[in-house]
Amino acid sequence: MLLLFAAGVGTAGFRHQEYRIPLLPGEQQTVWQVEARIEYTALGGPTQIFLTLPPEQTGFRLLEGTGAAPGFGFDVDRNAEQRRAHWTKRHAEGQQALFYSLPVVEDPAQIVEPIPPGALIPPRWDEPYLTAARQVIDSLLPITADAHSMAVQLVNLMTSTPADQNMSLLKDRYDDPELLARLLTTAGIPARSVQVLLLEDGRRRQALMEHVQVWQGDRWRLYHPTTGPVPDSEKLLLWQTETPAVFEVIGGTSSRVTFSMISQDRSMLELAEESREPGFALSLYSLPIAEQGMFKLIMLLPVGALVVVFMRILVGVRTSGTFMPVLIALAFLQTDLLPGLASFILVVAFGLLIRSYLSSLNLLLVARIATLVILVIGIISVFSVVSYQLGLIGGLTITFFPMIILAWTIERMSIIWEEEGPKEVLLQGGGSLLVATLAFLLMDVGLVRHLAFNFPELHLAILALVMVIGRYTGYRLLELRRFASFEPR
C-alpha cells in the first residue's frame, strides 16, 4: 500500500516536473477545445463540404485547427470573406462524419481591430411589412438616442406583452434575429445577424445560436434577440459573420453540424510542445472531447468513494445504500448544493407518501420498483412544470438526479420506515445527505477537480488510502457515544 501511495504521488510529481503539468488550477490560461462535427449522407458521387471558421476576434486567440478525415482531402480556403475549412472526396456514399477541432485560448489581451461595416444597404421590405417597420421605427425614434438605445428598445418591443400590433405582424414573417437586424438597418444603424457558440465546459452536441451584432461607431456589440445586450461575462465565440451559411455540403443530404467543447488548463509551453511529448500520449487529453467531458466526472468518483469510506468506517455514519451518497453528490455537482438538497428531499418525501399507499397494494418487489420509477418521473415532471411556472428556474435542475437511484432510495427508506420506524429513516437519510454534501463540497473544490483529471495517477494514492482505512479495526467515532454508558470499574 505504501508502494501504491508512493507510486501515485511519485508519478504525479514526475509528470509535474517533466511535462510542467500545473499542480494548481488557474495558473494557466484556459484553452477551449472546440470540436465541430458534420454528419451527412453522401449520395455516391464527388462530394465537397465547406465549414465556415470563426474570424479573429477580441478576447480569444485561435490556434491552428485540425480537420483531417480519412479518405478526404482537406485544406483551409482563405480567399472567401471568412476562412472556410474545405473537404473533398471523389466518391463517397452513405453516412459520413467529419470533425474539425479548434483550440481557442481565452486571452483578454487579444485585441482585434474591428472591421467597420461597408456602405449601408437598406433591406427591401414588401407591403404591408414596410409600413409596419416604418411605424415601429418612427414610434421609437423619439425615445432613443443612439444605436444601443435603439437596439434595446427594439428588443423590448419585440418581447413586450401584450404584443405590439405592427411587431406581431413582422414577427410572423421574420424570425427574431433577422427581424432585429433588418429593423436596425432600416433605421440607419449597421447591424447583422451572426452565429455564436456558447462556451460551456463539457457540453456536447451543441448548436450555434443566432445573435445580432450592432455597430456602435467604434465596435460591434452583441445583442441577444430576446434578452438584449449580452454581458461580457458570457463566453460567446463568434463563429460566422460574413458568409451566408455556416456550412455547405455538395453531393450529400441530411446534413447537420454540432459542436462539442471542453475547457482545459494548460501552460502555453505545453500547448506548443504537445504533439511531441510522449507523456501526453497516456493522458486523458488524448481522448475525444466528448469522452473527456465524461471522464471529468468519472475521475471525481474515487474522491467521493473515499469520503464514504471515511465516514462509514471511521466515523460510523449510517447511510442508506453504500455508495448512493456518491451518486447524489454527483447530481449535486450539476444542480448546486441548495437547490439539489431541496429538490432531493422534496421528491423523496413525496415518493414516500405515495409508496406508503403502494405498500397496501402488496405488489411484488420488481413491480413495486418499476411503479416507483414511473411515479418519480411523474413527480419530477410536475415539480419542473410548477416551479417553472412560478419562475423558479432552480426547480428544473431536479432532472439531473438519476431516476433509478431516486426510486431505490424511496423504496429503501420506506422499508426502513416500516421495519425500524421513522426515526431510523431520518437517521439514515440524514446520514446519506450529510455524506453526499461532504463529498460534494470536496469534489467541488477546483483544486480537487484539477488534480483528479490532470493527474489520474493520484488515484493510486486514493486507492492506498481506502485500503488502509479498510484495515482499520479501532473504534468508530460514534461508537464512543454509543458505549458511553460503561461504568468505570
Binding site: 402488496n362 411484488l364 418487489l365 479495526t473 473504534y475 464512543l480 458505549f483 468505570p488
Partner: protein, 334 residues
Amino acid sequence: MNWISPWRLRRIGVLGMNRRNVAYISRYNDRSNYPLVDNKLKTKLMARKVGLRVPELLHTISTQHEIEDIAELLEHLNSFVIKPAQGSGGKGILVIRGRRPEGYVKSSGGIVDIAGIKRHLTNTISGLHSLGGRPDVAIIESLVETTDAFEAVSFEGVPDIRLIVFQGFPVMGMLRLATRESDGKANLHQGAVGVGLDIGTGQAIAAVQHNRLVRQHPDTNADLSRIQVPNWSSLLRLAASSYEATRLGYLGCDIVIDRHQGPLLLELNARPGLSIQIANNEGLLPRLRQVEALDSPFMSVQERVQEAMSWFGRSAGSGQEELWQGTEGQPATG
C-alpha cells in the same frame, strides 16, 4: 452529549464494529455457511438432524395451493406461530394463542379468521416480509409457552436469550425483554430491555434500555435484578453445540425457554450485534482473547461449557451489587 475516550473503551475491552467485522466475523465465519443461519427453515432442519431441540415444526407452506388446504392442517391445533423463513427483525410473525368459535386468537387478543390467515400466508410466500422481497417459505411451528421464571417480566411475547458463542464457547449472554415501546419485539434499539446474564450462574447482572441502566421492567415494573434463568447449564450446552452444527466461529444464538420442553433453539445469527456488551457492562474482547489463546480445539461441548462457566462467571456479589445500586432511586422509564 456523553462521550467516552477510546483509550478507556480499549481498557474495558469493548469490541467495536470494525474489529468485529474484520477480526471475528470475516475470520471465523465462512460465507458458505451463512445460508444455514439466514434461513430459519434450514436452521431448524439442520438442528433437528444433529439433535438440537427447537420449537416443533408443524408445517411448511411454499406454494399457493397448499394454502387452500390450510384449514384442514390447522384443524386440530390450538396454538401455533407462522413465520417467514427469511424474515428479519420480527417481521411477519403471526402468533395464534387459541381458538374461539368465531376464529383464531392472536397474541394481542384480537381475532383473526381463516381468510385472514390465508392472506398472511400468501403475503409471506410472495416475499412481503422477507429481506429484499424474495419469494419465501412460511413456517408453522408450535407456540412456545413462557416459563414461570419469566412470567413477571414478559410483555407481549416470550423473552429470549441471546448468547454469543465463540468457537463453541458461550462467552456472553443477555436476556431480551420486549416492551410496549419496542412493540413486542426484542430488538434493543427499538426500546427492548437487555438484561446481562452471568455466564456462571444465569443470574441478572445489569439491565439497560436505550443504553441507560434500569432496574425495573418499564411495563410490568418487575424487579429485573432478581431474574434467574432456569436450566442454565443445559441452555449453555444447547448454545455451545450449535457451533458443531454450523461451523460458524462467531455466532449469535437465540434461545427461548418453554414451560414444558425447556431451552429451545429459536434462531442463529452470523452477525450478532454489539449491544450485549452494554447490557453486561463489560467488553467482549478479553473473553474472546481468552478463548483464542486456548490451544486445544478438540474439547467436548460439556468441557467447553464448564470452562466458560468458570472463566466468565462472576464470583457471587463482586461488583454486581454496585451496578444495581447505581440505578436505585431512578424511576424506571417506559
